[in-house]
């Protein structure tokens, strides 16, 4: 492990009851980089984020964040660790009873003793970074999907975390909002010296902004590489995923008995 590594995932296994979700995941994420985790729906990407955040416990293996094994921490230490992390949920998860301003100020008020005047300045700075300073007085229900996610982004950088995890940040956005969010992820990562993990299945948008990509399929890392390597990859799974092909290693048909048998044609004379 080099000094540059922020997150180390070692032989990580996780199962719900007896169903294995993640099987022997091995990853390293260097500081200051944007790393994408890609994979189809239900491949265990979000589970991996939750394991990094310590909201669930691995069956075996570990996640090391800034030198600490996440699942071995007690509750206080875990909460302390989480102050160094931000997370952007799929649809923003803004607190609907608080205004945009109060949403961004939430963590500052909960975790610091800063005077209200300073909180005000900080909140406006964070909102300015995502281009929504003028919207600070709005309630979340008055925001569009893209705006809500930008506010959530401002909220997650409120305490200048070392890491931000993005859970499907591109889902359901129009092309403009999509590239706004994509560029914000890149810019904020570079400007604040953070590390970003982007869980997504939006291949084209994320390949533009990330430094490294992991593909997860069926709970294992199917492929990894830089965006350039990924684009040029001839590995069947990566090729299918990047180019959105209908059939390939990920089959179009759900496993079933033979078509003939289902239609009771097996014994008939064709």
């Amino acid at each position: 492990m080099t000094a540059e590594t922020l997150i180390e995932v070692n032989d990580l296994n996780f199962s719900y009851d007896t169903r294995a979700i993640l099987k022997g995941i091995q990853m390293t994420m260097p500081r200051g980089k944007v790393v994408a985790i890609m994979g189809g729906s239900g491949s265990g990407k979000t589970t991996l984020l939750r394991l990094i955040g310590g909201t669930i416990q691995p069956t075996s293996g570990y996640v090391k964040f800034a030198g600490e094994v996440v699942h071995e921490l007690d509750r206080d230490a875990l909460f302390k660790l989480r102050r160094k992390m931000g997370m952007l949920f799929q649809f923003g998860a803004l607190f609907t009873d608080l205004s945009v301003f109060d949403n961004v100020a939430f963590q500052m008020r909960e975790h610091t003793n800063l005077p209200e005047s300073m909180i005000r300045d900080l909140v406006l700075m964070k909102l300015h970074a995502v281009g929504l300073r003028g919207a600070h007085h709005l309630m979340p229900n008055a925001l569009s999907g893209g705006m809500a996610r930008r506010v959530a982004l401002a909220r997650s950088i409120a305490l200048d975390p070392m890491l931000i995890m993005y859970d499907e940040p591109f889902t359901g956005l129009d092309p403009i909002s999509l590239s706004v969010i994509g560029n914000l992820i890149r810019r904020l990562t570079d400007a604040l010296g953070m590390t970003s993990i982007v869980v997504t299945h939006d291949v084209q948008e994320s390949l533009k902004i990330v430094d490294y990509v992991y593909f997860i399929a069926d709970g294992v890392i199917a492929a990894e590489g830089t965006p350039k390597e990924v684009r040029e990859s001839v590995a069947p799974f990566v090729h299918q995923f990047v180019h959105g092909e209908e059939d390939g290693p990920v089959p179009f048909h759900y496993p079933a008995q033979t078509y003939k048998k289902d239609l009771n044609l097996e014994n008939s004379i064709a």
């Binding site: 909201t55 909460f79 989480r82 949920f89 963590q107 909960e110």
Partner: protein, 265 residues
């Protein structure tokens, strides 16, 4: 046939185990809420905000229902009592029915359907939209920050609402019997004053409403927190809050009454 019997017995067993298990989860949750109430007490403005939503906004329904319940009590009481020539005792009847039983019980039932369901739906939706998870990831405990203030606000507002309900009821009885029917005003109030005992009647009614407040809000916050994070899950939880708390209120009322008014003439 025997197979069907076996499976139905299994089904019953499964349901019993399930509900005992759920009761255990709920009790653990309740203790957790109590243990994590420090934040609510230190930052009391969190509770005050919820007091507005659970208490103040329930006022209308409590005031109006109390008034009408009192009016009906006055009317029915007068009808019966005047047959025996003791219509002057109608004030006693109205006041005792209200402070001992109807005030705490009906106010709690109304509170469960007005505020309890709102608490469940709010917490359930916060869960469904990942707001609680987001809070947890921001190193803020949702039980301390969201659940506990709502719980205490409910516990505090319930006795007040019950008291207001009783007061409105007594006033409603006065309106109907004294103002409309013409029962003697002096006897309405003075009989009430001499018959209602502070310790046995008012204090016991107050204690009842405190129990109901704890029960209703504990059920409401638990159902919300435990709701499956889907539209169907939240609506089911809201219904369960109202049904369970209504049954618990009536059951508790019987038990408390048995303890409180044993041997009191």
């Amino acid at each position: 046939m025997p197979k069907r019997i076996v499976s139905s017995i299994q089904n019953i067993g499964h349901r019993v185990i399930e509900s005992v298990w759920r009761l255990g989860v709920a009790s653990r949750f309740f203790i957790l809420v109590l243990l994590k109430s420090g934040t609510s007490l230190r930052r009391f403005n969190l509770v005050i905000r919820e007091l507005y939503f659970t208490g103040v906004l329930s006022l209308i329904i409590i005031v109006v229902s109390g008034l009408f319940v009192g009016m009906v009590l006055g009317l029915q009481g007068y009808e019966t009592l005047q047959k025996y020539g003791s219509e002057s005792a109608v004030g006693t009847l109205v006041a005792l029915s209200l402070v001992r039983e109807l005030g705490p019980v009906v106010a709690a039932l109304l509170f469960a359907s007005r505020a309890g369901s709102a608490i469940t739906a709010e917490i359930g939706l916060m869960k469904a939209t990942e707001q609680l998870a987001a809070m947890g990831m921001m190193a803020v405990d949702p039980i301390a920050r969201i659940v506990a203030p709502r719980f205490w606000a409910g516990v505090i507002s319930m006795p007040f609402l019950a008291a207001i309900f009783s007061v409105m009821g007594v006033f409603g009885g006065y309106l109907v019997t004294v103002v409309f029917i013409g029962v003697d005003e002096g006897s309405y109030w003075s009989q009430m004053q001499s018959a209602v005992d502070f310790r046995f009647d008012i204090l016991n009614g107050f204690i009842k409403s405190c129990f109901f407040g704890v029960a209703v809000t504990a059920i409401a916050v638990f159902e919300g927190f435990d709701a499956p994070p889907t539209a169907e899950g939240v609506s089911g939880a809201t219904t369960r809050t109202v049904v369970t708390s209504s049954l618990v209120i009536l059951g508790l009322d019987f038990i408390l009454t048995a303890f409180m008014f044993r041997g009191v003439s």
